[in-house]
């Protein structure tokens, strides 16, 4: 807008200009009024939105809570183990979406056993689709090492994609804060939430591994992958955090893979000599029970792993797996 200097300011122009000035004044005043804050910021109150993971469990059936299958071939043992619990049809209904959370913690090849076995993951994906009639299966984890490298080197990314599952990598915007009711450590803490928000069923797949701090890394410790933020501080109280994870995550099913067991140098391994064949695979709706059996593969007793008793006390399952009448089988 320009005003011609040569002409005198007539009344019409003056009124127009005064009007515009008045509108500008009013606008400035209104904005100041609307955003005026007489108090200033108080102490940090944490994140406003707090989410809670849904409960993915299915109704229990007596004698079909845990199965333990011996055999060298994971594809066969997992088929059998899930079959003994009533088949995948019991857990996955047609049209449902399923998230599978394998242990993809390290950028390490499958032969070193530091991560979930890719063929096992792929077989569970296939079961969900073929017999469970799942609409969509996601495979996801928030690894320790570089996520893309972990999914690539572990072979899980490729195996899952080839079985038509969608691989979901962690990104900042997929994390939301949670607080575990009755928990001491998980308070206003970011968890890998978005992939699990709208799914119907959740399956965990973990190998049995030595773990210097906690004694053993199995199906409960696998949920550490859901923690975001600077989660390593929880190692100060590893038993409580594992027990709280077992309270926070209520999976449909866990698969604990002891086909090869990492006996030493865990949880990273790094050498085939750290592994021992135990040819055992466990499927369970009760992860405390699964881990209570699984620790025997490492030569440990339930009492060696304080987190088991803690999880049991918190109501996450039973350490006395024999009371669940596990189904045993062997497939060659």
């Amino acid at each position: 807008m320009s005003e011609d200097n040569e002409k005198k300011l007539d009344r019409r122009k003056f009124i127009a200009r005064a009007g515009k000035a008045a509108i500008s004044l009013a606008a400035a005043g209104t904005v100041a009024y609307l955003v005026y804050d007489s108090k200033g910021p108080g102490p940090s109150t944490g994140v406003e939105e707090i989410v809670t993971l849904p409960d993915f469990t299915v109704s229990p059936q007596a004698g079909q809570t845990i199965s333990i299958v011996k055999g060298p071939d994971r594809v066969k043992t997992v088929d059998k183990a899930i079959g003994l619990l009533g088949g995948i049809e019991r857990f996955v209904k047609p049209g449902e979406t399923v998230a599978i959370k394998p242990n993809v913690a390290f950028a390490s090849p499958p032969m070193l056993g530091a991560t979930a076995n890719p063929e096992l993951v792929a077989e569970v994906v296939r079961l969900c689709y073929s017999r469970g009639g799942a609409k969509k299966v996601y495979v996801t984890d928030n690894p320790i090492n570089d996520p893309a490298s972990c999914f690539r080197l572990s072979g899980i990314g490729k195996a899952a994609s080839e079985a038509n599952a969608e691989v979901v990598m962690p990104k900042d915007n997929l994390f939301k804060h949670t607080t575990l009711s009755g928990g001491r450590l998980i308070k206003d803490w970011p968890i890998f939430y978005e992939p699990f928000k709208n799914i119907d069923k959740l399956i965990g797949i973990a190998p049995v591994k030595d773990h210097h701090r906690s004694g053993a890394s199995m199906s409960m410790k696998n949920w550490y992958g859901l923690l975001g933020g600077r989660r390593n501080i929880f190692h100060q109280d590893i038993n409580t955090i594992i027990a709280e994870l077992a309270m926070m995550v209520r999976p449909t099913l866990v698969i604990l893979d002891g086909t090869t067991v990492m006996m030493t140098n865990g949880p990273t391994g790094g050498s085939a000599s750290d592994l021992k064949r135990a040819n055992t695979l466990i499927a369970s709706c009760d992860m405390v029970a699964a881990d209570s059996y699984g620790c025997s593969l490492l030569g440990l007793a339930v009492a060696d792993l304080p987190y088991l008793a803690k999880a049991e006390k918190a109501g996450a399952g039973t350490t006395n797996y024999e009371t669940l009448k596990p189904k045993f089988a062997t497939v060659s």
């Binding site: 090492n145 570089d146 210097h212 390593n232 190692h235 038993n239 304080p306």
Partner: protein, 581 residues
């Protein structure tokens, strides 16, 4: 199609190709990921890279032979690279065009006149090449600081792409971070915005590669010139002259970037690309005085000892410059590294970062590992940085060489440095808190971090027994914090008794775990001590390779309690830590 149209097509093509190579420098198996894409092609076409490394190393490394193509074409055709291929040149060309669009023809002609200051680029070139050329004094390769191809490569890969990618996450799942990117960004944008002052400012005044082409193109068979003397001297030929090379008068061949705008703008078709000498005459030599040449040569030679006054290659070596696996010994490394940033771009964990000047001026933008950034130190099963390094400052090693397996078992693994535990910061060492995240994450087998077990009495953990059974001990003191000893890491010892594991506690009651064949029940009135079981990390320096995963994962997240330092790196024998066993 008019020749300027062909030129524009070529510029768009090569610029797009360059951007494409930046995008595909992502580790992965999809077609738009690295696979076999020749992502270094522009760097390899760059004769300043080739000549610089020939001077410093007396060799021409592998695909840098591509530069011969550019050199030959320049000798025959002139400075074609600047206006037809160079992605940085195309960017300047475009921004310069935008900046002068509103100007009058007379102003444009004025903007594109020749300036004496255009000789600065030759001074820069001579200065850098002198730094590289005299091994009897010392050599260093610093051309990459201003060489347009390394400059635009690092600017796109380490600055622009990560910024844009934050919104789409194509080039990486997690977003990329680069320390000191602000300086790269500032220089890049300064160079680009100077076009608003004078079009192709960088190309005309600064670009050492352009200077090199100017010298190489002196004997060009074909060149721009007037084909007859009847010229009305309208100067329209200089309206869009990209090189500022005075086509209206005695054209300066070394400044002409072959944009062909003069030929296009000459209404009388007097200007052509021809073998004959321009009718008013021409100037083939760069406009640099003998004095300026000698001065820049001498300053270049003396600049090397000058930048090395800090003794960074000697006793005052910079222990924070942890170089990527396969990096050459520091002096050889500095005679090859272009600071192009390809290793930092490709590194899957984002741990390789552009260095600063703390390690000496020569360290600027060279690759150093910062284990605090990125997704997890130097990944054990990865050799990507050496594979992409265009000059072999980082050698393309195999995995067995990196890990010291197979034929390299005798030599052992490549060490980047050594991890040191800071016992004043480490939770189990300094604060009696259990942790050992570092030990867990050590990727070696057997691990280079091992632990010693120790039971330490906690503060206010000396208690008097009021009443005791096999399972419970009631204390006289009623001051215990509820649940504090219930983590599974606390034990209770009485005189002459074994440690009993504590399951839970209230303010005056300690509950023991039932498992153990606990011998003695402490007597009433006796003293018990509550102890915490600690595993304290120790480094086996014979095994540690300095990968930095421990440092990355250390939960003491400010100044880490375990840190890698370059002592013990295999590339410099002088920085070794251990005697050979």
């Amino acid at each position: 199609m008019k020749i300027v149209q062909t030129r524009r097509t070529s510029q768009i093509f090569f610029f797009t190709l360059f951007v494409w190579f930046c995008i595909v420098s992502t580790v992965g198996e999809k077609f738009w990921q690295i696979r076999g894409w020749p992502i270094n092609w522009f760097l390899q076409l760059d004769p300043l890279v080739a000549i610089g490394t020939i001077l410093t190393t007396k060799t021409l490394y592998r695909a840098l032979l591509w530069a011969l193509v550019t050199v030959c074409l320049t000798i025959i055709l002139g400075r074609f690279f600047c206006s037809w291929v160079c992605p940085f040149g195309s960017l300047h060309h475009f921004v310069g065009y935008l900046g002068s669009r509103e100007k009058t023809t007379a102003q444009k002609i004025q903007l594109n006149k020749y300036r004496k200051a255009q000789c600065i680029k030759y001074i820069i070139l001579v200065f850098f090449l002198a730094m590289a050329a005299f091994p009897s004094i010392a050599v260093t390769l610093q051309t990459g600081l201003l060489d347009p191809i390394p400059l635009i490569t690092r600017s796109f890969n380490l600055v622009l792409l990560p910024i844009v990618d934050r919104t789409v996450n194509v080039a990486s799942a997690m977003g990329r971070f680069y320390e000191r990117a602000w300086l790269i960004l500032a220089i890049f944008f300064t160079a680009v915005f100077l076009n608003l002052l004078i079009p192709r400012f960088y190309c005309r005044f600064i670009c050492p590669l352009g200077a090199l082409f100017g010298i190489l193109g002196r004997f060009a068979i074909w060149r721009i010139g007037k084909n007859k003397s009847e010229c009305i001297n309208c100067k329209l030929c200089e309206k869009y002259c990209e090189g500022g090379c005075e086509p209206s008068g005695n054209i300066r061949i070394s400044e002409c970037v072959l944009c062909f705008n003069c030929r296009d703008d000459c209404k009388d078709e007097i200007i052509s690309y021809q073998t004959q000498i321009s009718s008013p005459g021409e100037i083939t030599d760069p406009d640099i005085s003998r004095r300026a040449f000698v001065l820049s040569l001498a300053s270049g030679i003396l600049a090397v000892p000058a930048v090395r006054l800090g003794n960074k290659l000697g006793a005052n070596w910079y222990h924070k410059a942890i170089r990527p696996p396969g990096a050459l010994a520091e002096e050889e490394f500095l005679s090859r590294c272009l600071k192009c940033g390809q290793c930092m771009r490709v590194c899957p964990t984002n741990v390789i970062q552009p260095g600063g000047i703390d390690g000496g001026l020569e360290n600027l933008w060279t690759p150093v590992l910062n284990n605090r950034i990125g997704s997890s130190g130097c990944q054990l099963n990865c050799t990507a940085c050496g594979q992409v390094c265009p000059t072999s400052a980082i050698r393309p090693i195999t995995l067995s060489e990196k890990l010291g397996t197979g034929e390299f078992a005798e030599v052992g693994p490549i060490r980047l440095g050594t991890a040191f535990v800071d016992r004043n910061r480490c939770l189990p060492w300094a604060m009696d808190k259990p942790c050992i995240v570092c030990q867990e994450n050590c990727p070696l087998s057997p691990k280079a971090i091992y632990t010693e077990e120790i039971f330490n009495t906690v503060r206010e953990g000396t208690l008097t027994v009021k009443k005791a059974t096999e399972k419970k001990i009631e204390t006289v003191e009623e001051t215990l914090v509820l649940g504090r000893f219930s983590t599974g890491d606390y034990y209770c010892t009485s005189e002459g008794g074994e440690g009993l594991k504590i399951a839970a506690n209230t303010k005056n009651l300690i509950e023991l775990t039932p498992d153990k064949k606990n011998g003695k029940i402490p007597a009433e009135g006796s003293i018990i001590e509550v102890k915490v079981r600690l595993q304290r990390p120790l480094i086996d320096i014979e095994k540690c390779i300095g990968c930095g995963v421990c440092e990355h994962e250390c939960p003491v997240s400010g100044k880490k309690a375990i840190r890698v330092s370059a002592e013990g790196e295999t590339r410099n024998a002088d920085s070794r830590l251990l005697l050979k066993s």
